[in-house]
Symmetry: C2
């Protein structure tokens, strides 16, 4: 039952050849005394035909969708060519048919563009994955992974494994726990990332590590999040931020080249966190379009308007007259993102209009709005009420105005992140990145923590954070101090991280790294908007596997062996 | 702080060059006015020297073990060369020293041959891994993995991921469970292998899959087992047993060639399960030495001795006179492995001796023992009391007689396994391999299950099972029947495997595969006997991570969120 070709290979040059193919019956239709069959495999589709005079005609009549068949036949030129198909110039006249397996009528159609409900597609994921459009995402994922691996291996990185049965150290997201059968009342935890292990690899003198690491976070799911995800985890010793940035740029350039045959410009642009917030209203700017945020010149503050008595004013100017509906929508978004007041002025041939006209002199308006038709959106309030809400408005404007160039891949490094965040609720500091990130200045970390910057850097692509990394703390006393700044008392430090602070004592090299989100990167590289498309067997947003029906109840004996009880 | 060389590069050709190196102080000793330092990195060791007249002498005096340093200096030829070291012909005269990090006195010595307790080594694993002897295992693991991956990619296999948060389907080993926070009284489970997912990939029309898959079994640990392990998981559609065997032989030949520069003979030998048991007393024979088991000729049964009234007799002949101590030891092993009676006869220049002389005629003895000095060990009892116990005796004899050729890598395929095993205790059948393995004959599976053979095959290397695979069931009705044979009632089949039997209905291609145990393969290829050596961060035999001290108790709030209680 050996085949001569896959279903994406035959073309006009093969006309006259005797071939054998196999695959799934994708479509079958009768026209007069002929049957046409689309035969599908992982690679593509070949059209088969059979005449009612053939000795195999009856067998061909019995074929239904998704039957698995093996056929032999002769390649002939098609009369009506289908140039959207790679095999569209030919068809195969069937000689013999062997039915390898039959199929019941499938609950979803295995066709390129599906209109089945997502829940049905996930329940029958194995059929959904037969759609070549869907399969393409998974094959691309595999190709992108290999391209990235190849780039890392070319720089002498070693692919090294880390345990999945780890230890719970809740700082940040919730851990998944695994009860130990042997030790009563004790638990392993699934890793949120191999952060500590990769640092231990550096301490152990492995100088260049990477891993396609599965990570787990028991958080409520958002559209682009899964309970488990894969990150390309990278760490190296004796490196600076610039070394890591250069490495990642090389990886991205070579992967885009290899997989998408696309030249990506490097070095990538860089922006500080502070500038990103002030100019784009977000720490993951989509730079495929402009619409920059500008701060109001202080001189306008002379105005008596209460609008300008607030701490900050900033605005975006659009070269278009926005409709009332758009303006209402934008005001809503501004508010949802914590904004205070969003107001506007429009300039048209008939002059200025809109609520802001009352607060500014015409002269001021003329300096701001120099083109014929423009709208200025002004946000006012304190820092947090102005910039991030305007960032959300900017993002929406990109869509409304259709000014996002979908063919662009705009990479951007965001650097100089704050070291800490202050939580009013808990009245304490949290690490902005994670507690192992090196401060830029150790004195500042202690004395002016909220001003202190870290050696962290994020990689942003088209408005998505696809990677985050940092140079790490490599001196024990700094790490201790960091934990103290995060309100951990000595006994907590010791029980949670004692082994790690001890490890830092024995000649830890300077080191740093990054983790790239594979799922998100593949999503962007394959130009889909649903992260589930690039994961073969995803969970739903309500954390279920609809195909396997998991999680589920287990047998009593299993819980008994683990010494745990569940709430009734 | 860029370096010119790593610590395994410099040789006599570099004499006179100015170089910069970095690494860990492995040893430091003073001789007269000189200090000698061994500088270590991931690659090797370079000897440094410094004279008391140097301006850096004082700094060199302050260096202690495991300090991290950066140095510059001049390469000179050594007076007393150390040819066991790749850099042993030269040393570097230090000019400048920069201390990058200091170290406390390490709790274990970072030297090639360690005499520290295993528990101390595991607690300070990051120091243990600094030993180049230990590091070598992990680096080799990474190289072996890449060689295998390269071979699979060359055959158009796709590396595809499967979920870690799966479903508990207890058949065989115990599952690790993960409580769901969202669904009360429900659990995910860690996969014992991606078996079902890889079959679903085939059903989904991915024709060639592989993955370096993490697998989990909550079983009591043996010396060569871990709670989590890595298998090279392989599956393909439209394949026969021969196709998989050919593929794996290609992978092994190319990996041994690439990593060990060693030519492995292929095709590998094959033996049926039945012959393996009868000839070697085990389904994983070590064929690096002979000592075959032979069944007693039926004609001896004429003897009146009660020894021969039992069902089976078989023996091993050794070309040596075994000592009483050895014989006692072997009898013990025979018994431990479920043997009934082990007896012997020795032939020496002074004639025959030993208990068996009473049961056999001299003529019979002379036909059996033809050499000058021999010992014959005879086991008698039923089938299970004879062959496997003799297999254990054979294995021990290999060691006692020192006839195992340690330089050999003897691969062997074991085929034609029984489909089922019968458990007296539970009075039911169990799948010998797993419930997805295809029978050789479906009728036999139903009518004579204990005679039925499966399309399963194991790969054995030097007496270790390093892989197991099979051609799978691909027809729903056969899979249903298989579950019934395993005593699952319709509601169990439906709740545990319903989604899978349903999947089989929609045009499943014939498929099969194998899983290779990476840990064990690396252990054999690196010629160590401890599986922990080839795992960077292993657990102990009592299932603990001594470094992180995991598992451990978690915070009450975590359990509360998960809705579980632990026994007090």
């Amino acid at each position: 039952m050996k085949i001569t070709h896959n279903n994406n290979q035959l073309n006009i040059a093969d006309v006259g050849s005797e071939v054998s193919l196999r695959g799934w019956v994708s479509k079958s239709r009768r026209m007069g005394g002929l049957i046409f069959i689309d035969l599908r495999d992982q690679y593509g589709i070949t059209q088969l035909t059979i005449d009612h005079q053939s000795h195999s005609y009856e067998k061909a009549m019995s074929l239904r969708q998704e039957f698995v068949v093996y056929i032999t036949g002769i390649v002939v030129e098609r009369k009506s060519k289908n140039l959207s198909l790679r095999t569209g110039e030919i068809e195969v006249q069937i000689d013999e048919i062997e039915i390898i397996n039959s199929s019941e009528n499938p609950p979803i159609q295995v066709i390129d563009i599906t209109d089945s409900l997502e829940s049905t597609r996930l329940k029958y994921r194995y059929l959904d994955l037969r759609r070549l459009e869907q399969k393409k995402f998974i094959i691309m994922r595999s190709k992108i992974s290999q391209a990235i691996r190849k780039a890392l291996l070319s720089k002498d990185f070693h692919e090294l494994e880390t345990p999945i049965l780890g230890k719970s150290t809740p700082e940040g997201a919730r851990d998944f726990l695994i009860p130990s059968r042997i030790y009563e009342n004790q638990f392993y935890a699934l890793p949120q990332s191999p952060q500590i292990f990769k640092q231990l690899y550096m301490i152990a003198g492995f100088e260049k590590y990477f891993q396609f690491a599965r990570c787990f976070r028991d958080e409520d799911l958002r559209a682009d999040r899964q309970l488990e995800f894969t990150q390309i985890d990278i760490e190296a010793s004796f490196v600076t931020q610039e070394d890591i940035i250069e490495l990642i740029e090389m990886i991205m350039v070579s992967s885009f080249e290899e997989v998408l045959k696309m030249k990506i410009q490097s070095p990538f642009s860089k922006i500080t966190y502070e500038d990103a917030i002030k100019i784009y209203g977000t720490d993951k700017p989509d730079t495929r379009f402009d619409l920059l945020i500008e701060e109001f010149d202080k001189s306008y503050k002379d105005s008596n308007s209460p609008l300008f008595s607030l701490e900050k004013q900033a605005y975006i100017i659009v070269d278009k007259l926005l409709s009332r509906k758009d303006l209402e929508h934008l005001a809503q978004i501004h508010k949802t993102h914590g904004g205070n007041i969003l107001t506007y002025v429009k300039k048209s041939v008939s002059g200025f209009s809109g609520p802001l006209t009352k607060h500014l002199e015409e002269e001021q308006l003329l300096t701001l709005l120099r083109k014929k038709e423009q709208t200025l959106l002004l946000s006012t309030g304190n820092f947090n009420q102005v910039f991030e809400p305007l960032g959300a408005v900017r993002s929406k404007l990109g869509k409304i105005l259709e000014i996002v160039d979908k063919n662009k891949f705009n990479f951007l490094w965001v650097t100089d992140f704050p070291l800490f965040e202050y939580s009013q609720e808990d009245d304490r500091l949290y690490a902005r990145h994670h507690p192992f990130t090196s401060p830029q200045n150790e004195k500042e970390m202690i004395e002016e923590p909220l001003k202190a910057k870290s050696k962290a850097y994020d990689l942003v692509l088209n408005g998505y954070e696809i990677g985050g990394g940092s140079i790490r703390i490599f001196k024990e006393e700094v790490q201790q101090k960091m934990f103290e700044m995060l309100n951990l008392n000595p006994s907590e430090i010791s029980s949670k991280f004692g082994f790690f602070t001890e490890a830092l004592r024995y000649g830890t090299p300077p080191h740093g790294g990054i983790a790239l989100g594979l799922d998100r990167l593949v999503m962007l590289m394959t130009e889909t908007e649903n992260i589930k498309d690039v994961i073969a067997f995803p969970k739903t947003q309500s954390a279920r596997d609809l195909m396997m029906d998991s999680p589920n109840e287990v047998e009593k004996i299993q819980l008994k062996e683990l010494g745990i009880k569940v709430k009734k």
